[in-house]
Amino acid sequence: MYYLRLVFKNIFRHPLRSLLTLTGLVVAIVAFGLLQTVVKAWYAGSEMSSATRLVSRNAVSLVFPLPMYYRDRIRAIDGVTTVCVSNWFGGQYKGTAASNFFPQFGVDHETFFDLYPEFKTNPDELLAWKRDRRGVMVGRGLANQHGFKVGDVVPIKGTIYPGNWEFVVRGIYEPKDDTIIARQFYFRWDYLNEEIKKRFPRRGDQAGVFIVGIADGSRAAEISARMDSEFRNSLAETLTETEKAFQLGFIAQTETIVMAIRLISFVVIVIIFAVVANTMAMTARERLAEYATFKALGFSPGFVAALIFGESLMLTALGGGLGILATFPLAAAVKGLVGNIFPVFKVSGETVVLQAASAMVVGALAGIVPAIRAARVRIVEGLRYIG
């Protein structure tokens, strides 16, 4: 108790220095937490993937479609329970502003929401969507962002499928929890296909990808291989992978950015380590006479080392704690700014543990050398020291 009181009093001996170091710590821990949260947000799409969903696309590239008739052949493969076509629409809502961007897909209305139980739908709304060819189901996040409500007509300007398109909001689905992204715009693939046939006849009856439900996730590799062999040597060979691998494939394209963010988050910690280490080194140096006095009075070198080490740990624990506390409101504020880019921007438990661990590691490393130096100080030399 006495030891802790002494350590605590020592921390605030130079209020300005302590305040500046603590500010640095808080900023660093917040920055680390936010950057880690950005990385997490980057992977949010893959995190919500299911082990029982496969995605089959054109083996050459995602931009090439697959023939629609593949659906029946895939459905016939052993282990497959559901097949759902999905086409990326890529339209613009209210101009080209990035803030108005949201993902739009044409999907099989009969199977899609059965494949995605993490999206909770109102049965009446779902039925209304299935009955309306121009109907669309929008995620709660998207509905909140743009104020969509059931019955609204949403005009979209097509880019991949040029022209003006209109959809009627028939339902709003809810995410199962806050790790699920609910910012998508799902309309009926058959409506898209009909319109394509009218506007661009040669592009009809084509699927962007097939989302395939399987009964047993452990058979994913086997079924994927079976599916791909089914279409080997055809004009459109398939590449089938788990939904997670499919999502990670997108992230891999931006891996350098993710790497850079990760790197920066750790550089921030290294910088704050240097700051705390400098603070502790100064602290220990100017108190050599005190440590020598402790030793003269009979206190052990271990006690003296523990004073410095404890001070370093307590300082970083304090800064780390404040930083962690500050991360939550700041993350909420950041989400308000970039919510359309990172729909799931949530400080995870893992991030908090990483923040706390970083603070403690910084505290421990920054305190080691000054603690050893103070413990080793010769009493006679220490007593002569004027800090």
Binding site: A296, G298, F299
Partner: protein, 306 residues
Amino acid sequence: MNAPGGPGRPLVVIEHLAKSYRRGDQVVPVLEDISLTIPEGDFIALMGPSGSGKSTLLNLIAGIDKPDAGTLLVDGEDITRLGEAQLADWRASHVGFIFQFYNLMPVLDAFENVELPLLLTSLGRRERRERVEMALSLVGLADRMDHKPNELSGGQQQRVAIARALITDPTIIVADEPTGDLDRKSAGEILGLLQRLNAEMGKTIVMVTHDWHAVESARHVVHLEKGELVDAQAAGTDAGPKALETPMNADARRLPPIECRTRSRKISSVLTLARRLDQRRPFPGLSAAIGGASAFIGVSKDFRTA
């Protein structure tokens, strides 16, 4: 050279002590073949020009430095043979330190500073409190317990340091220029206090000083020059410090003995608190308190012998 005969049995016995320091490749001898006996209850002033080795000798006696050769017995124990950890334990229970610049912990108040050495004992919180309050009363700072060092004058800080030196009832008190940083008036007060600790509580004190006024407070003065003892003689008050009219304490209370956590020897110490105040003294209540405490020391010594 066997220096001053003293009031009691030999407490510190130094024989052929030598110490040198390294400066780069050079070995600089600081003390050469020093032999000295300090009797229990003596008050020695170590004098000499800068670099004469007086502080080094004090450090060796206090067990914060180690000699290159010779023996140094304190209370019958050869401290040159002790390892670092043993020496730390030995210092905790045998030595009270008074430094020129007080060396108080700035973040701790007077009470906590005095309490520090007691943290190495097995005393409980209440017992520590009683002792600290008593020690601060002894030095006339009972009303400044919650003051931080920077809220005290130099003289008051040194008195806190003296209370800290006394708190474990050490075998010997070492003082390195205790008045070196004080004005004349404060220095006089500190010296008067040391004199009383010696005369009335029987404390053995070894003091390094440059100050001739300080020397007059001691019983004996030892001169060092170029690392050698050149002279040892009775100081200004050969018969010891002026006889003090010490009112003995009638309302003395006893505290139980304390035991060092780190060693088995009991630091038997039953300090008594005098309640009568003697306004003629520099510190109101000091004489009475010391009078009571000196009575206790007798008890304490009996306890040790037993």
